[in-house]
Symmetry: C2
Subunit: 322 residues, 2 copies
């Protein structure tokens, strides 16, 4: 996989991304809780990207990717396929610089997400809910519009943008022993791993994944790419496969990937809601679930934990249907 390493964002790419997106994004707060520290027997610093623009870290990468296009590219707009936070982030970031955005969304996308993309001025094309239909429809849109594709994670500018969350965390909190992030397509985890490698190399980076969507865990362990196959997990942000760029970065710079049960994801999510009074989405609860499951491994450590987002359907909370 080493052939891709020239595409890895370097430390300057990440620092430049941070200053490029500075006026557009929120510097999100780092929160702590005595109660949470007590039950997890560690010192946990939550980097709260649920308070980020569009409610998720994705605003960072999308903004960085758009701002690095040249004026001609920008004029034709940007396009992607996404049913989730990237769709909102890309249409939001495009609207901030007044360029068009074309979003391919599967026909079964939630109304809340469709409305959000429309609200940001994204031009939506619906397609069948399969990866093939999404890719085919996007190809057609790209041809028709001349827009630039901005992939949701497998893109060096996206990764450099997502890395700025860990960069801010490292600047604010000294002496972290471990930095944890959830892993789906790997945009957040690869960015976090690179930022940690460049700016706090003594810290370990741990990715966390649902047991029921453990393709990154298997790919990491076996060193052979294992795709995600329609996994069933409540952590809807973590159902995708690693990318050809995110996977080698993770192999090179992540220290461990661990998995957690669905039950503990829900328990972790609810504990954070109840005790910290913040709304986080299921994917964001995945790293804290690992702390609850492996108390002794993390005892006494100072742990930075990236809360990826807070976009939840408030009509469908997991503990109410249990």
């Amino acid at each position: 996989m080493k052939e891709n390493s020239t595409l890895y964002p370097d430390s300057v790419d990440i620092l430049e991304a941070a200053s490029r997106i500075d006026a557009f994004i929120n510097h999100t707060p780092v929160m702590t809780s005595h109660y949470i520290d007590g039950i997890s027997d560690a010192h946990i610093f939550f980097k709260c990207e649920n308070f980020q623009k569009v409610g998720a870290f994705k605003a960072r990468g999308a903004t960085n990717a758009i701002l690095t296009l040249d004026a001609d590219q920008q004029a034709f707009g940007v396009a992607t396929h996404s049913s989730g936070n990237h769709a909102q982030a890309l249409s939001w970031a495009a609207s901030r610089v007044n360029i068009p955005s074309y979003i391919v969304m599967p026909s079964n996308s939630s109304r809340v997400k469709v409305d959000a993309v429309k609200g940001y001025g994204g031009q939506i094309t619906f397609c069948k809910p399969t990866l093939k239909a999404r890719e085919d429809t996007l190809k057609k849109i790209l041809k028709e519009t001349g827009a630039t594709e901005i992939h949701s994670y497998n893109h060096p500018r996206i990764i450099a943008g997502q890395a700025t969350a860990a960069l801010e965390l490292i600047k604010e909190v000294n002496d972290l022993d471990i930095i944890m992030a959830p892993v789906g397509g790997g945009g957040l985890l690869s960015g976090t791993a690179l930022a940690t490698h460049y700016f706090l190399p003594v810290a370990e980076v741990i990715g966390v994944e649902p047991e029921q969507a453990n393709d990154a865990f298997l790919s990491f362990k076996s060193k052979h790419f294992v795709p995600s196959r329609d996994p069933k997990t409540i952590a809807d942000g973590l159902r995708t496969s690693l990318g050809t760029l995110t996977y080698p970065i993770i192999l090179d710079h992540v220290h461990a990937i661990v998995t957690v049960s669905e039950e503990n994801i829900v328990k972790a999510m609810r504990t954070i809601w109840e005790r910290m009074k913040i709304i986080i989405e299921p994917s964001s609860a995945v790293p804290f679930a690992a702390l609850l499951e492996n108390n002794s491994r993390f005892a006494g450590k100072r742990i930075g934990l990236i809360i990826s987002g807070g976009n939840v359907d408030l009509d469908n909370l997991p503990w109410i249907n249990l």
Copy 2:
């Protein structure tokens, strides 16, 4: 009512309360939201007491009341009757200085709240869910234990403590035109009104109350005390009557009391959850509901709004049962 005005906390009482409780409480963040400002056509600064110790502003008053007892009084402990946040706040504050707390709770108190009081070491006595039973049981406990009663709102040290939330808000945000708080027993509103009177006298203070628990609105308008009679409102923190101390302070220093519908309380609560990603209790949503109902009155104003707390039963969210 003027005979009570010698009991009003003065500016020194509030400043002393702030420094006295400083090491015990959280300096809670002030949050803003572009989206919320857009729909309310105002600039709103949310003082987030949902992030306070025990999840509510009540930690301020309880700490101030306990720390101002002399050593002999402290040795015998403190007592109150409460089914809500004050019960948690008093038992928590007592535990911080290692003194006993005796909490009379109605037998129909929620399990979550009973467990929280127990968790802080409060010694609970259950009674029938009537005001008379609560008062009679408390009298008995006071006699048996020699503890000092700390009323949940009708107490100058409690009011001075609650006033420190508005004091922090005023210190952090310049040029507020209006400061809003919900009103139940009036501890938070009277403290907010006094802090504003002393430290930002150009600002107006507006109390907000559910239409279905409008005793403070009627008392304020008629200048004759109207008691609360078992009101039905989702805002469970706002069901109590004003006190003999809080009522005259409110008459003297609050500029208006407005009421809001149950429907708009739920709508306001949900909007804050969805857009700000913070968990607030129904009582905390009441002032924002007034902004949604009276857009034109507040247009263009800089408004400080006290979010009173975030203690919610996550199994019973109001929009799910609608």
